[in-house]
Symmetry: C2
Subunit: 210 residues, 2 copies
DNA sequence: GTTAATTATTGAACGTCGTTCACTATTTTG
DNA sequence: CAAAATAGTGAACGACGTTCAATAATTAAC
């Protein structure tokens, strides 16, 4: 009896006109950047050209996206938000905890393959990001999802509850990013397989099971 | 009866005069940079000023250290090499595997505290580094030590041997760096305590022990 | 021991990054 | 409507990291 997955990715929460304009400005800038990235590659495109293509001052672009990688983050985060309605029922089909995490990673692996070209700068960016470790701050979509899925496993007693969910989620996310980094550096590795191995290692641990 | 710990940190392996000069050039540049960092902080010091202070062209500096963080890496790595003779017998006193890893992390925590100021840029740099995931390449001192300590645990049967040592070491190092990042962002956290928690989590895993 | 190939170093110039500043326009609040 | 907060602009700036042609030192080959 699969209850609600409950991982609220994002709620726009309609505010004033200024906020609305800001959000569509974010989308406009990210869309412009993305088409340039696809046409010429991430490295080749400069912030100045993105600003020019979006018909916006460089300062304005930097105000919204302090570094180029943040544009990738916006696109990816938005894609996740759009795909979420389809993912959620898929997750609800399997048992919470480890099995559900595994299912999510499978879906994620497929998406990653389709974005492989632009994933490396994004992963590097996320790894160096403070937000991965600081609690309470605005977290990425992925972060919230991992935390929710892990909390479900804790609720069923499958995962240990003697450590805070956020700490477990942080470690899981680092293992996740590490695995992505590993696969991106070696074409021969399959993300799906490496994700499965990672989940096994993170759940069972380094030590042998007694 | 503690056998040899066997984690060969570095062997100079005396080569020609050119290599010898190169190595002392590395030390000279790193020493110059380090004294500037201590006097004015890591962020404030530019590569140009380091080059000037070392009486060397900017191009020469960049040839040896492609980014500023690599200077930190050189200093830290050298410090580890110098401290290693004192660390090794200390590790040999306790059982291999988890206990020895714990002891190493304790010693490391103390060293980290003394370098806290300059640790953040270093950790970020290492996280984004490809070498953390690619196999076979020249690895950092820490990487080699973790791999050796884990291999010892595998040899005694305490750690699982169904996955390659290098993969376990990679995950351990990411958990290690993640924990450091976490502590550096929150003054209230004690590195020693968080390292202990990390080891517990990595060894026992996310799942509850049956 | 002279020659040839490799490697280290240099200065100058360049493009990009990301920031600063003073200024204008728009939206929001009271 | 006035005051305050928020977006946007252009120009300039310091720093990053790279490129280039040219010179000096080391190593290898004949």
């Amino acid at each position: 009896m699969p209850e609600s997955v409950n991982t609220n990715v994002d709620l726009p929460a309609e505010a004033g006109r200024r906020e609305r304009k800001r959000l569509q400005q974010l989308d406009h800038l990210a869309d412009t950047a993305w088409s340039l990235f696809e046409a010429e590659g991430f490295e080749s495109v400069t912030m100045e050209r993105i600003a020019a293509a979006a018909d916006v001052s460089k300062v304005t672009l930097y105000r919204h996206f302090p570094v180029k990688e943040a544009l990738l983050r916006h696109v990816f985060h938005r894609e996740l938000g759009e795909a979420w309605p389809a993912i959620q029922p898929e997750l609800a089909r399997v048992a919470p905890g480890r099995e559900r995490l595994a299912r999510f990673l499978e879906l994620q692996a497929a998406w990653c393959e389709s974005r492989r070209t632009f994933l490396l700068p994004y992963v590097r960016y996320r790894l160096g990001d403070h937000r991965l470790t600081t609690e309470g701050r605005e977290r990425s979509g992925m972060d919230r999802i991992f935390a929710a899925l892990i909390a479900q496993g804790q609720a069923t007693g499958e995962f240990r509850a003697d450590l805070p969910t956020d700490l477990l989620a942080m470690h899981f996310q680092f293992a996740h990013l590490a695995t992505m980094l590993r696969c991106l550096g070696d074409e021969r590795l399959s993300l799906a397989a490496e994700f499965a191995g990672m989940l096994d290692l993170v759940c069972d641990g380094l030590g042998v099971r007694r």
